[in-house]
Each structure stands twice: as structure tokens, then as C-alpha cells.
Symmetry: C2
Subunit: 323 residues, 2 copies
């Protein structure tokens, strides 16, 4: 649905506009530190805690920017997306705040809890067969029929500008970061981080942290061309999706390195974070800490920003119960 | 080991001195709010998050006040206590910071993880038979032999003055609280809260939240005399102990009400806190929220302080896995 030649790349001005637009609907989340993790890594870590964000994840920033940027006329036709994760919740939350309709296309095989959560925020769930073709067909039909605005989970300039407000807040609060580490799936958060780093802290290195089991970004980064994953399996369920043109633009131009973590390393880092920091984080956002613990020499002595992307996890099915 | 007639009751001056003394060794923990819980209760709740405290619980305040208040001569002989919970960890932590020895008497049947945690902070574990008589005999022998200073988990004026620094910080940060709710076991936290409330916010009502399965405070409060529990069983393992003379002094004179929660209500409140606030709390500190949810009409429209006492929990044995 996006064409490279006709692709608008957001700028820092878009980030400023996004922040003004979404501020009433999001939390300015806290930045936590941990003596334990500082001692363990030799680095000085600053955790930007989007697990405390509205709807439980940073995704509400991008979704709110898209929803509240619509004209009244467009808004009246509602918004739509496909997602079975945090973007679905966030779009439903933002649409609810604006008083418009959100429709989410989800595979019928998605967990009932996820469907219920979307409905809990006022969104409507349309179930499709569990295939990309079925999902895209249903979404296209929906958009054609209702005129709803399609808000892609990450390959959308409004979403990228919105996600950028997260690292903007971190740079505003913590000066002199040598490195910033964020998880990467489709690349929305990392793309926004590239935008703010260029503007606010150009000497900060940008590291994308990725599950080894879903290493399309790592492979793309080293190949110099966008390679898509084919249904990867990882506990970090928010990071299974692949890069798209807009996010590849940022990754290929501004990211300094891509580091990988195994499933076991991700679960260990997640467990340790719960145990020591007393915060509930989802597997996806344990990936940055996992790569830091694995590559201590790369981070020792440095001031490191870490994006904790979300805290939506099934408390009755925790990974250390299964591994 | 304490005699009513010879019992020093700490004052607010002791709290001020305690705060100056412990400040370098503790965190000033954040106060969190939750739109979800405000909507659910109709109250405005302010959660003082001691789960983020050093050693994972408020107990480090009292333990640090005792440890750092010792003369060098006394400190050289070390400190000792009996506890299989957060006080044991906290005393070990504080002693470690001062560079002195902490010895903790624990029943040999206590979980290995608890013994390991004390050792992890540098404390020594002495194992006794699992009875009150055995525990007290071993502690007395230890104190007689080494001259170590016995720091009772709550029936100690230094400990009470230290715990008071928690509600002091809350009152300094949040004005106009109508009510403050804290869990009660032995009564150290509540006693400290009485001290600060009298001085800083005398119109604030003090509510002690107690497990129904360990309701010695409820019964004492209504009988007008101290009644001890006999080995109560509750998921809120930090609240199994009974009042002692110093804490009964505060409960009988200053607490406005004692509210009870069942085991199921405690687990539900704990689960909901993890799920919605994304913080790891132990069962004991879910009791205040449980009584608020159970008695909404009593709290609706009010500004309510809630003490989240700690976050030390076995992540591999969560109560919603068992009930």
C-alpha cells in the first residue's frame, strides 16, 4: 500500500507537531534507573518506561497522532488497521478519546484476550482467515466501503512522528546519552528515534535490538537491502513483523548497529527486570537489556538510554513458566 | 524483650532525625497514580511505591535508621534479628552499607531462596528449629555471646521512626489527603504513619488494611486490648506477625479503622495492580487496594494515599497460578 517513489518521510517538525497534538492523551512516562543493572553492566542505564503508557505501550503515541491529525470530515469515517498487538489497543484507545470508530482486522485465531482488550477500549474486531492475503483483502474492502482511514502500525509517517515523541522526552530529561537502544520489529520506534537523535543528540549511537529468531533487520542491515522475515517464531511477539520502506529508510541511513538476542537471553533479561526493577515488561522490551548484558564491553562506562516499549503480557502465561 | 513501663515511644523529632540519617541509603520512591483505579473506585489514589525501594521494601528505612544510629563501638559488634522476610534483607543491606555484620536467625524450614537473598546482601543466616522458643533462645544466645544489637522487625522505636519516613515523603509530595491506607502485620509501618499524620496532616484518616485470615489487629482494635494471632495462614506472608506493645500503642490511639480482605480479594487486587499499573507488588501490599475496592463508598470522592510496601515475590510461584 506504500510506494517508494511517493513516500513522505517525516521530519523533526512533524515530531514537534505530533508532540503538541498527542500530549493531552498520553503520559509523559518516567525514566527509571537501577543500581543493580548499572553494577551488572558497568554502564549507566536510563530506562524510558513506556510500559506505564496509556494502553500499556508506546504505540499510543503514533496512533494518537494519526487519529487527532484527521480533519473532522475524515475522522467521521473512522480509522482502521490490522494488528493483533499493541497498535490495535492503541488505535482503539485513541479513537475512543476522539469519539470515532476504530475497526481492527484480526485473524480469527488471535487470542480471545486480545480481541476482548480491543473491545474493552471501544474498538470493533473484524475476524479474517489467518493469512496475509485474507487480512489485506478484508482491510481493503473495509476501507473502500466505509472510507475509514488506514493507520498502518509503523509504515505511516504520522505513526513514526508520533513514536518519536518517546525518545524526544528521554533526550529532554537525560543529557549526554552515548547510546540509545530500542527494540526493533517493523521499525516504527527506531525510525522515530532516528529523527529525534539527528536533531537533539546527533552524537548518540543508535542500536536496534532484535530477536535472533526474527533477524530480518540484522540481515537487511548487513545486506544493504530490505529482506523480509517469513513468519518468524519468537517470544517477543511484538517484533515478528518486517521492515517496510519508510522504516527501512531510517534503519539503512541512521542506525549504527543491530544486535541480536536469543530466546533464552530475552526471557532471562525479562525475568531479571521484573525481579530487580519490580516492573512488568513484555518480552519485546527485554531485548535491549538482553543485548546490553550480552555485549557489556560495548556499553561499559557509557550513558545508555533504553526504551522499555510496553507492559502488555498475559500474567497467567509467563515465559519462565514454560522454558 | 520489651517492657511496657520502660517503653520509649518515638516522636516526630525522631522521624526527622531518622530521615536525615537514612537518606543516603534509601530511594525517595515515586508516587504513582492510575486513571484505571481512579475510575474503578471513584477516589483519587496516590500510590507510594516502596516496591522500588532498596532491598525491595520499606523495611530498609527502619533497618537503616537502627544500623546508622549505632555508635562505632556498638556497630563493631554487629546487628542481629529474627525474620524470614523483608526485614532480614533490609538489615543485611544496611549492615553491608555500614560495613558491619548482620546475623539473621531463620527457621531451618524457611525457603532456601530467602536464605540465599540474605546472604546475597552479605548477611549471615543462623538456622533454628521452627518454633518461637527455639528462635528466641538462639537469638538471646547470639546477643549474649557477641554483643550484637538486636533490631526487632517492628517493636523498636528506631525502626518505627525509620518506617515513618515513608509517609513523611508521601505527605510532602501530595497535599490534602483525606485518608491514608497501609497494610498491617506487626504494625511498624502503621505506627510510623500515625507519627507523621499527627504532625503533617492531622485531619487525614488512618486505615489499617489486614488479611481476614490474620485479623489480630481487627480483633484487638474492637476489643480495646492487644490480642495475638496464633500462626495465621495467609498469602500476605509479610502480615502474619502480631502487634507488640509499641505498635499497639499507636494502633489503639491513632488508627481510625481496620478493614479486612479475604485471600481471594487480596490476590485479585494484586493481579489487577500488576495488570493495570505494570508494577510488581507482593501480596501484602495488595491488601490496601483490596479493602478500597471492597468498600468503595467509603473512599469515593476522596484523596487517598496508599502505601505499596514492597515487591519481593517469587516470580515462579505467583498466587494466580495456584488459586
Amino acid at each position: 500500500m506504500n510506494d517508494m517513489s511517493n513516500m513522505y518521510i517525516p521530519t523533526y517538525d512533524d515530531v514537534l507537531a505530533a508532540h503538541d497534538r498527542v500530549r493531552p492523551y498520553i503520559h509523559r512516562t518516567p525514566v527509571l534507573t537501577s543500581t543493580y543493572f548499572n553494577d551488572l553492566t558497568g554502564a549507566e542505564l536510563f530506562f524510558k518506561c513506556e510500559n506505564f503508557q496509556k494502553a500499556g505501550a508506546f504505540k499510543v503515541r503514533g496512533a494518537s497522532n494519526a487519529v487527532f491529525g484527521l480533519s473532522d470530515e475524515m475522522a467521521a469515517r473512522g480509522v482502521a488497521t490490522h494488528s493483533s498487538g499493541n497498535h490495535a489497543l492503541s488505535l482503539s484507545y485513541a479513537a475512543g478519546r476522539r469519539g470515532i470508530k476504530a475497526t481492527v482486522v484480526m485473524p480469527r485465531t488471535a487470542p480471545e484476550a486480545k480481541k476482548a482488550a480491543v473491545r474493552g477500549y471501544g474498538g470493533e474486531v473484524l475476524e479474517c482467515e489467518p493469512s496475509t492475503a485474507a487480512r489485506e483483502a478484508m482491510l481493503e474492502e473495509l476501507v473502500a466501503r466505509t472510507g475509514a482511514d488506514f493507520v498502518h502500525p509503523y509504515n505511516d509517517h504520522r505513526v513514526i512522528a508520533g513514536q518519536a515523541t518517546c525518545s524526544k522526552e528521554l533526550y529532554e530529561e537525560v543529557e549526554g546519552l552515548d547510546t540509545i537502544v530500542a527494540p526493533i520489529g517493523g521499525g516504527g520506534m527506531i525510525s522515530g528515534t532516528c529523527l529525534t537523535t539527528q536533531e537533539l543528540s546527533p552524537n548518540t549511537k543508535i542500536i536496534a535490538a532484535e530477536p535472533k529468531n526474527a533477524d530480518d533487520v540484522y540481515r537487511s542491515f548487513h545486506a544493504g537491502e530490505m529482506i523480509e522475515d517469513d513468519s518468524p517464531q519468537t517470544i517477543a511477539d511484538g517484533l515478528k513483523v518486517s521492515l517496510r520502506p519508510r522504516t527501512w529508510h531510517f534503519v539503512s541511513n541512521y542506525v549504527n548497529d543491530v544486535l541480536l538476542a536469543t530466546e533464552e537471553e530475552i526471557v532471562d533479561a525479562m525475568y531479571l527486570t521484573w525481579q530487580r526493577m519490580k516492573i512488568v515488561i513484555e518480552p519485546s522490551c527485554a531485548v535491549p537489556l538482553a543485548v546490553i548484558l550480552k555485549n557489556k564491553e560495548m556499553f561499559a562506562g557509557k550513558r545508555v538510554g533504553v526504551i522499555i516499549t510496553g507492559g502488555n503480557v498475559d500474567l497467567k502465561k509467563l515465559p519462565w513458566m514454560q522454558v
